[in-house]
Each structure stands twice: as C-alpha cells, then as structure tokens.
C-alpha cells in the first residue's frame, strides 16, 4: 500500500485523538501494517484546536509526525481554519457539515459530510460522532477493514456501548462510500 499520512483535528472532547488511536491500533494489531500515532500535546490542546497525526504504511516509519497529510479531517471551524492549508495537493479533506463551513480553496478532494447530523438523527448520542467520522474515513479510503476497527473497539469500549459504536461506524462507512 501507499504510505498514508493523516491528521484528525477538532476540539478537545470530540474524540478525534481516540479515533486516531483506534484506527492505528486496528492497522497494527489486526492488519499487520505499520502505524505511528502522535498528538499535539499541551495546555493548548484542551478546548482549542486539537490534532492527532497517524501514519499507516507497510514499511518502517522513521519520522513520526505528519507535515502534509494525504487525509485531513476537520471537525470544527477552528480546526479547519488552522489546518486546511497543510493538506497534500490531491489529498482528501473531510469536514462535517454541521460544524465547518469550508471555503473550497485548496487543491484537494473536499468532502463535506453530514456526520454529526446523521449520528444525532439515527442514534441520538453525540458520543459516537468520532466513530462515525472514522467510518467515513475508511469508507472513502479503504485503509483498513471495518471488522478490524470493530476488533480494536472491542478492546477499548465497554460491552454495552459496542452496538452503538458498530452502528455509528456503519453509518459513517455508508456516508463515505456514497461520496467516494
């Protein structure tokens, strides 16, 4: 596979860092790929624009940070304003319609998906917004299999919440696939 460099951004509490860890974990533990995950760390990450970098590859990864992502996800306007211009030309920029008004001025495939709205309509709990986003990312990129994400989720999430997460992942996957 081609090396994929991703940046997930949003605001503290939306679960973008958790989503990044789950994706990287799924790739390493269940698909035998190489992955590295890092995150912006510090007082500024609380409440402000938070960011997590993930690199997935089938070879060794030396430099662990992402400078120009192939895939950039922005879940808030602040994160979008801060990060939109780091996207690699020809990359994929995914935003949420409820939170981000994008300006369509970068050289990238831009996808504005109603992830938050769909989660609220079909599930009613904003807590799985990040998992829906993750579904959309793999729906658009086919980076890892849906089952691998589910296996990684099983390791970290209480049983009672598993169905809700499975539904959110499926919703995101559908949104992603439909806008490929």
């Amino acid at each position: 596979m081609e090396r994929c460099r991703m940046v997930f951004s949003g605001s503290g509490g939306q679960g973008v860092i958790t989503a990044a860890i789950i994706l990287a974990e799924a790739a390493v533990l269940y698909e035998d790929l190489t992955a590295v995950q890092t995150q912006a760390y510090g007082a500024a990450a609380r409440g402000g624009a938070t960011r997590s970098d993930v690199i997935i590859s089938d070879t060794v990864i030396d430099f662990p940070k992402v400078i120009q992502p192939n895939v950039l996800v922005c879940l808030t306007q602040e994160a979008y304003n801060k990060f939109f211009d780091i996207i690699r030309p020809g990359g994929l920029l995914l935003t949420d319609t409820r939170y981000v008004k994008s300006q369509l001025k970068v050289d990238a495939r831009q996808r504005e998906l109603p992830m938050y709205q769909t989660v609220m309509e079909k599930i009613g709990k904003p807590i799985v917004f990040n998992i829906c986003m993750l579904g959309a990312v793999i729906g658009l990129t086919n980076l890892v299999a849906q089952e691998s994400i589910m296996k990684a989720l099983k390791d970290r999430i209480p049983k009672n919440f598993l169905d809700m997460n499975r539904d959110a992942l499926a919703l995101g996957l559908e949104l992603g696939k439909n806008s490929q």
Binding site: E25, A35, V36, Q37, T38, P64
Partner: protein, 382 residues
Amino acid sequence: MTRRIKFIQGNEACVEGALYAGLEFFAGYPITPSTEIMEHLSKRLPAIGGKFIQMEDEIASMCAIIGASLTGQKVLTATSGPGFSLKQEALGYAVMAEIPCVIVNVQRGGPSTGVPTHVSQGDVMQARWGTHGDHSLVTLTASNHQDVFAMTVEAFNIAETFRTPVILLFDEVVGHMRERLEIPEPGEIPIVNRLRTAVHDGVDYHPYLPREDGRLPMSDFGGVHRYNVTGLVHDMWGFPSDNPKIIHGLLRHLVDKIENNASHIAMYKTFYLEDADTVLVSFGSAARSALHIVKSLRKRGEKIGLLELQTLWPFPADIVRRYCNKASYTVVVEMNMGQVCQMVKTAVDHRERVFLANRIDGVFITPTDIKNILRLIKGRGV
C-alpha cells in the same frame, strides 16, 4: 499472537521492559512527560506482587528506591528534568554506595520547569555530571519502542552487573508516540540477576571488598549480615575513612568499573555507513528524523549514513571515531545546543569537520530542518 504485540506509547514500552527485566519496586512522583510510566506501574506492579509507592516528591522517590534496592529488589523511578535535578544528591549517594537502580528521565524543555509538554534532549550533560564529584555512571537512550524495551532491560542488567545507577534518557516524542511493540518471549533477552554473597551467617562479610573481576556480591539489607552503608568514602566494611589510600582506591574503583567496560556497554546502530562521506550522529527521537533524511538522500545517490548512539555515557568515543574520523562531514543531530556534538568533537582528529544540526524551540526536528542545515554546511545554501 495479539497478546505479545501491542500498540502503545513509549512510556508503556518502558514499563513492559522493566517488568520483563524483573522490576519489583517503583517509587516516584508524577511529572509530564513521564507520568504514564508511573500510571501504568501503579496497576501492573501490585498485580504481580510488586510494590508501588507515590512518594511526596522526587527526592524521596530516589531515596526510596535506594533503600528498596539494598533489601534485594530490582527498582525503578521515573521523572523529567525538574525531578531529575532534585534526584541528583541521592543519585550521587547511589553511585558512592554502589546501589543498583534505574532512573528514567523523559526529557522536556529546560532549564527549570521549562516547557513541560514539548520535546528536548537537553539533559545529556546533566545525566553525566548532575551529581558532584568524580564518578562514572551509565546512560542509555532509544529512538523506537522496540529499543525502548530492549534498553530498559539492558539498564537493569547493567545496574545489577556493575552495581551502579543507570539512567534511561528518553524524550517527549518517544515517550508519548504510539507504535508497535512486540514483547519478546521470556528468556529471549538474557536477564542479569543480583550477585549475592555466598558468605554464611556469622562469617565476616565485607560489603565493599570487590572480587578480582571488580564485582561486589551483595547481601540483602536486613537479612543475615549486618553492615554499614554510607555516602562517605568508606573502607571494605562500609565504614567512613579518610585514609588517602582508601580514598584513592575507592574513587578509582567507582570510575574504573564503568570506564574499563565502556566497550561492552557501548551500544549503537549503524545505517548506510559503509561508504558514507557525510555521517549523521544522533540519538533518541532525533535519530528518527535523521534516518528519514538519510534514506531520502541515499535515493538521490548521496553518500550519507547514520550512527545512532544508544549508549550516551560512558561516551562511546571509540565507536564515534571509527565511523566519523574519515568522513568529510560529521553532523550531530540533537535537540539541544550541542551537548553530544562537543563529545563527538573530542573523539575525532578534525573537530572542524564536526557540525551541529539542532532545534531548541520545543518543536521536533524535521528531516527538512536537517536537509537545510546540511546544505548550508556544504555551502549550497538553503
């Protein structure tokens, strides 16, 4: 299969390594960016019958591990720069009293409380010379989780072999980054356990009389032998002495037991050095950026390689000399103002061929930063 493969932070890889090496006792005080080591050990150690204590501060933590080590336990503490400063007095005591112990310093920006959440490699000289007096000790580092694990195991082995404090000098990037770790099977990495005295109860035991090979068999404190332990210069019974012969003999022993074994303790990795005319020397997380740029410049046909140091102290001067002496350019990549660069300059014949590629602004040095500095050094501009 999945149980032995983990996707975790570097700090957790250190925990796994310590447990693999037989850690039994941890005392510490939480500090960014080392806290995860303490957090994970607070759950893991009690589960296997070990002891975990959160002490009132870093000084007490260092003192607690010294005491615990004397009673026969394998011990660890973890901290960052400000805490490492506080530990220096007790660290010197551990050197003098020859107490096996492992101290992790996950480096952040300094001096003082500095930049808690940002990366730095500014504690290299402090690790060596933070405590006063002529002495020697061992400092190891690592750039990826597999090596963090291996170096942690090695740190315990060296501490037990030479009865010395060993410092693990990691940094914020390696500590917090998540990547794959494959935990070796038990026995895959050899474990050195403590050399205990064969002297029976009631027979005169000399706690500070080295064997011919320089090693000192220990007796668990509070066990069968009564003996004295002090930070003062001491004789073979452990009692204070100001006899010039004893002072001289002890200082020589403390330094020689490490320095005479420097070649055994020297661990390093080489990448593309066979024909390299430009040699990068790096360690810790900075070595990842260095390796990245080496691989990318190699693809363009440049004769560049990397020497990654894993042992920082005793400084592996022979190794550095072997790989750098013939190079037209030796470039030390580190996130400080040239602490290892100074040492590299003393190891080679032509110090004017040694350059520094660094960043000291709390931002992780990138391959592009190194590439730009290389171009400047070679007079090609940026």
